[in-house]
Subunit: 767 residues, 2 copies
């Protein structure tokens, strides 16, 4: 059974009732972030029950010494881990001298948590009777400013319900923080200073090895009615700074504590200026005050939703699910900083190190590209361009040369972090996704300049890699690629993975075609890039040859491309014939059994058909879908979305909807029983794709937007917005057809169901 | 360059000169053992220079928590590690009150170390001038009694060369020991008592988790001329017990310390009886005294050499090499205890955990089988029989059922210890080697009773495993085996590894044939075993079907069996075309590059041709040898021996000799630059095979011994002895032919060069 305690609501994630067993799950689900930092929904006050503490700063990581059983040449020395950062949210309070702990209360009532996605804040409230028998109401509200990305704000209110009480508040900063997933139980942080000055508190801490310097700061205000109280220093400890203030509440009175806090880091400031930068944040915060900051937060989210909202009518759970996904993607990455990227768990947990995977290019890019200004998506591409040199070094380490580039499987700063040979060394198709993202970005945005300025160099490095990675097999009379792992990680070290061979061939051809276009259209740029890369005609000739003679495993009997050499030798029993107690196979079977089975973790051949759909007929797609889907166990969170899109394209709307359901509430309903560890951020982009590309049928055709909307039976209507080259187009789809609206000064043409349509500014058209 | 400091000598390993850089290497090479315990050649006295301390007790291990980067279902929780045991050899001494340390001496002269293989002892001597300027001579001699396997003996002599000195000896026991290769830096030992009583010292310590109880003991005597001194308790510390005795030496006088020490363990005694058992050892030692014990040691080794010596004339280094191998094999395993086995590093280091691999069955068994009474080899088979239930459990863990048995890749007590999926789960051919060893043992010894009593059950478990591990491929119209790793570990997760498929088919056929033999010859036994195993006729029918329809990859073009599916798609460039700076590839190349290359770590198809040589013609062998050897890098210590044997069989004596050289002095000359970590014990058996089966051409043909001796050009003659079914046969081979001698009361017939020969008792025959 999946969890189902999240209250259905179109704009909020809501938890009601005090059930400590689900708190770690809620800490993930109610996470907040602003693209620069993020945190799990931990309580502000002391809580002795189960909790998984987490606060993270984008780009601040620790190189945790590699842990493997058996070392293989080429393994990286370190795994770059997202760091659990010092915590600034803490607000302990004492009731008549006793530390308050929700876990020991005699009674808790009306416990409610809300993640308000419309306005971007987390709130929590409850009534309780403390173990001393005192009735209190607590209301906490917290947000991380989207505008001032170093600033977080908390309003924390305590009301005395049945008697007068003495309250002592003790807000604190804590840098005595560890990662739960530390390989060797290292300390990741070293605290260098703990200071309190004029009511403002600072902890300076730096990471071991990477030497990121951070200032964690706070400033607090306390009032009861109109009476303000001062905070005094309570303790300066080695890794902790506490201030305190006491008030007396009469029955019915409320004390409100406003806490401003956050981080300034050496990513954005010189070491000397960290405290000054923190002061600037506190200056702004105190000058504006809570209400203004809150209003600005609402406005910032209004702006985000204006270009990215999806409205589903007739299905509140689906509505909540898709908004949750869009919301979390926006909390994770804002696109303001090309050094940052999208970790699989964003700012919601430690797993996967918070680093960058090919998920970004294959799944996330379209979301940011079509819901934000194009600089945001461009920054994702710049990130990889900035790592080109390291990708070349990485390839060198594995025996490649002459500028061949292999982008890492997992990375923080461009260096490979992963340490499983079958993934690190063999799951090389990631290189293809990075090239595809360039192609995809250029066709959607029309930003051809990116190719000239940066993209061509990346493509050349990748093309060189593929050229060197294949060899000519006399036996097959073709170029073959041995020993790879495709997107379906339930196969390791296979030969001629069709997807990898296909994307390699495509990379070579695309690079050649773009070089040709450049030569014919901008010969100076062409010469410049050729010079930088020391590119020779012989290389180009080799690329042509490899692309022309690449081997693709094919079954004449089934008329399908084979996932890899020998796939048909497997025992081809469909998933439907597996007993349910055998699933998920990744929990029930040993690895060898999975590997020799025909079962597919996520789209592999079908992923290729998704990327390169123009290369194949609908009949071919249907044949391959019908062949492979029955063997697919979808045990990757990235699998259902691609299948949903393909099913929609094939008119199999029931299946498309079933796959959509599986992806859209993956975390809210905790299908994989692991949401405690954090959210599946990157697969959320896949959910969005299921609607936009799947149900909406959005494509680029001949440089124009094209839509072929369908609607699942279960919905009354849906509406989505996209930002296409600076214009906001919204589409409303119901059983009667499609209504389109353009928000722009300039008209545009697009295709709907293959028919050309003209959209006039601020007009609605019905198709 | 290889190391070459070991002085050539036919009967001893000798090191001359004081070169601390090579001490860790010498500590491995000069290791001593008696099959029950063993130790590296660490100094008795304090030494501040580099050293790798090691003392080991057979069968006493620690389950070290598994360390992997990424957990896979089915991995074992623990890796059973040979334990670095408490040390009993320590003898510190003080010269005029200063602790003696060879590392700080002003001068060291005539430093000499000898491992006397004829008599089984380690000796060491040197002259030195201490940093205080005092000239001393030190002579140490140490052995582990072959007869009293819980007892070790040290004679330690110090002579004052140029002045009178005050000497204080401080012999000690030390249980504050750690393994260098501990996964998590755990303590493996807990000391429970430190006692001294009537001149005898004891430390009781037990292993964490496994709770092996040990008593490490010592008793010391000191004399100068005929004057004996007493030892008094010096210190009882937490993990250390020291005694002391002081003497005054005049110039030219010698102090001699005799130390008796060793271990008694709960493997052989109840916990309460450990001290009593230690007392018994000390009773025996003091009653017999050093000289008697030393004479007994010489006699014990005489007995060993009488049935196992190989004499090479005209090549001292080859002579030294082969004796070293035979000596170390005898130090590692005596065959007295069926709970023990042969770790890849024996008692000479920590690597590979000291556990059992398929090396035992594939390489070591013939050595013990042909140089010792048959109980010794039988005990190696009993070891696996005793682990059958755990092999069945292990298979169950991986999804097999109904009594299918998968023996572990690495084990101490029958449980799998290894944790690399491509080995642990996929290198399943080990099961075949265990079956082959039963066949091999029975054909050599004629001990058919083993099959009835134990072997059949093992064979049935293994046959069941193979039956379940294959499946019928419609595509290939045959039974296929997907996702395996063959003996050549430079291929992982391949399909239809020829060797594995072949040995699987053979296992099924051999099991069927032996069941049939049993049914026809001993129907009661047959019924009993069928009952125990719940064996059905349907199963037998299935085995027949699988054996008959097994798939073997084959190249019509080359007329060879392919190592695995797709082998010919590789870039087939022979090793000779690799640049020398690219080798060894396991140090120079990343793992993926090795995997997709054609390069072979150790015999794979040729290993199958070795096991099943009667199944193939000489032409077939030659074709396969000529095809595969050029791709073989021999980066396993187990590769050259098989190639040497095959080359000899093909009459390629130059190659046979070259491969022999590579294996026979592998450790003495430290070809792999890793001898510091310990010796390659199991591959030493391969070296022995190279002479006996390779040059000597020894086989069993129709239940008779058969020889086809050849001699390498580089040798004048060689002589080997074997113990064949209780008879000692020695063969002397030179360029004129073969002389055979039989030590037995009963004549026997054998074949030499295919010709039947009658050997009369105690007569020599020339052929």
């Amino acid at each position: 059974m999946h969890q189902n305690y999240i209250v259905a609501d179109p704009w909020s994630i809501v938890e009601e009732g005090f059930v400590p067993e689900r708190f770690k799950s809620s800490e993930s689900l109610f996470s907040i972030g602003n693209g620069a930092m993020g945190q799990r929904a931990n309580f502000e006050e002391f809580y002795s029950g189960p909790s998984f503490q987490g606060s993270y700063i984008g780009g601040v990581y620790y190189p945790d010494k590699t842990k493997v059983g058996w070392w293989k040449n080429g393994y990286p020395e370190y795994f770059a881990k997202v760091l659990n950062a010092p915590s600034w949210i803490g607000i302990n309070f004492y009731v008549n001298g006793e530390l308050f702990d929700l876990n020991t209360c005699l009674k808790v009532d009306k416990f409610r948590r809300e993640l308000n996605m419309k306005s971007g804040y987390l709130s929590r409230s409850f009534k309780c009777i403390t173990w001393q028998g005192i009735a209190l109401k607590v209301e906490a509200l917290r947000f991380l400013s989207m505008d001032e990305t170093e600033l977080g704000v908390i309003s924390y209110r305590v009301t005395a319900l049945d008697q007068s009480v003495e309250l002592k508040f003790e807000p604190f900063l804590d840098s005595g923080i560890k990662n739960q997933d530390s390989n060797w139980d290292d300390d990741f942080w070293k605290t260098t200073a703990v200071n309190h000055n004029k009511g403002r508190s600072y902890i300076l801490a730096q990471t071991h090895k990477t030497d990121f310097k951070t200032c964690t700061y706070m400033y607090c205000e306390l009032k009861v009615d109109q009476n303000k109280s001062q905070f005094d220093l309570a303790a300066e400890e080695e890794n902790c700074l506490k201030v305190q203030s006491s008030v007396k509440l009469e029955k019915g009175q409320t004390a409100e504590l406003i806490k401003y806090g956050g981080y300034t880091t050496s990513l954005n400031h010189s070491e000397d200026a960290l405290v000054k930068a923190a002061d600037r944040c506190m200056d702004i915060a105190t000058a504006k005050g809570f209400d203004t900051l809150f209003n600005e937060q609402e406005k910032a989210w209004d702006t985000i939703w204006a270009t990215s909202d999806i409205i589903i009518e007739g299905d509140v759970k689906a509505q909540q699910g898709i908004r949750f996904n869009i919301f979390q993607l926006n909390q994770t990455y804002s696109g303001k900083d090309a050094r940052l990227n999208i970790g699989p768990k964003g700012f919601t947990g430690e797993k996967y190190g918070g680093s960058t995977y090919w998920d970004t290019e294959a799944y996330c890019l379209p979301f940011y590209m079509l819901t934000k200004n194009q600089e945001v998506a461009r920054n994702l591409l710049v990130y990889r361009y900035n790592h080109l040199e390291r990708a070349i070094e990485n390839a060198k380490k594995l025996g490649f040369n002459s500028g061949a580039a292999l982008y890492p499987m997992v990375t923080m700063n461009g260096e490979e972090c992963h340490n499983e040979w079958e993934i690190t060394f063999e799951e090389i198709h990631r290189n293809g996704a990075i090239a595809f993202a360039i192609y995809n970005y250029v066709r959607f945005t029309g930003d051809y300049d990116y190719l000239k300025e940066m993209g061509m160099e990346v493509l050349i490095g990748i093309a060189r890699f593929w050229r060197q990675r294949v060899h000519y097999s006399e036996n097959k009379n073709a170029y073959v690629m041995l020993g790879v792992t495709g997107p379906n990680e339930y196969e390791n070290n296979v030969n001629n993975n069709w997807y990898t061979n296909y994307i390699a061939k495509w990379c070579l051809e695309y690079t050649l075609s773009q070089l040709e276009k450049l030569r014919d259209g901008a010969v100076e740029e062409y010469d410049r890039i050729k010079g930088i890369c020391a590119l020779t005609e012989i290389e180009l000739e080799q690329w042509r040859e490899v692309a022309a003679q690449m081997y693709f495993p094919y079954s004449n009997e089934h008329q399908i491309y084979l996932q890899q050499d020998g796939f048909l030798d497997k025992q081809l029993k469909p998933v439907s014939e597996l007993q349910s107690d055998q699933r998920p196979i990744n929990q029930k079977w040993s690895w060898d059994r999975i590997l020799r089975s025909p079962y597919i973790k996520q789209a592999d051949v079908l992923q290729g058909f998704y990327f390169f759909e123009d290369h194949f007929s609908l009949e071919e797609l249907e044949r391959h879908y019908n062949f492979y889907e029955p063997f697919t166990v979808h045990e990757s969170s990235l699998s259902p979305c691609i299948h949903s899109i393909q099913a929609a394209k094939l008119g199999k709307m029931d299946q498309a909807y079933a796959f959509y359901l599986r992806t859209s509430r993956l975390d809210l309903d905790d299908y994989n029983k692991e949401v405690e560890e954090g959210l599946h951020i990157t697969s959320m982009a896949g959910t969005w794709l299921s609607i936009i590309e799947g149900f909406g049928g959005l494509r680029i055709e001949n440089d124009k937007l094209s839509l072929r909307p369908q609607i699942p039976e279960q919905w009354d209507s849906y509406r989505f917005k996209i930002n296409f080259r600076g214009r906001i187009i919204s589409a409303h789809v119901d059983r009667n057809g499609v209504e389109l609206h353009l928000k722009s000064d300039i008209p545009m043409s697009l295709r709907v169901f293959g028919k050309k349509i003209e959209l006039a500014p601020d007009k609605t058209i019905k198709v």
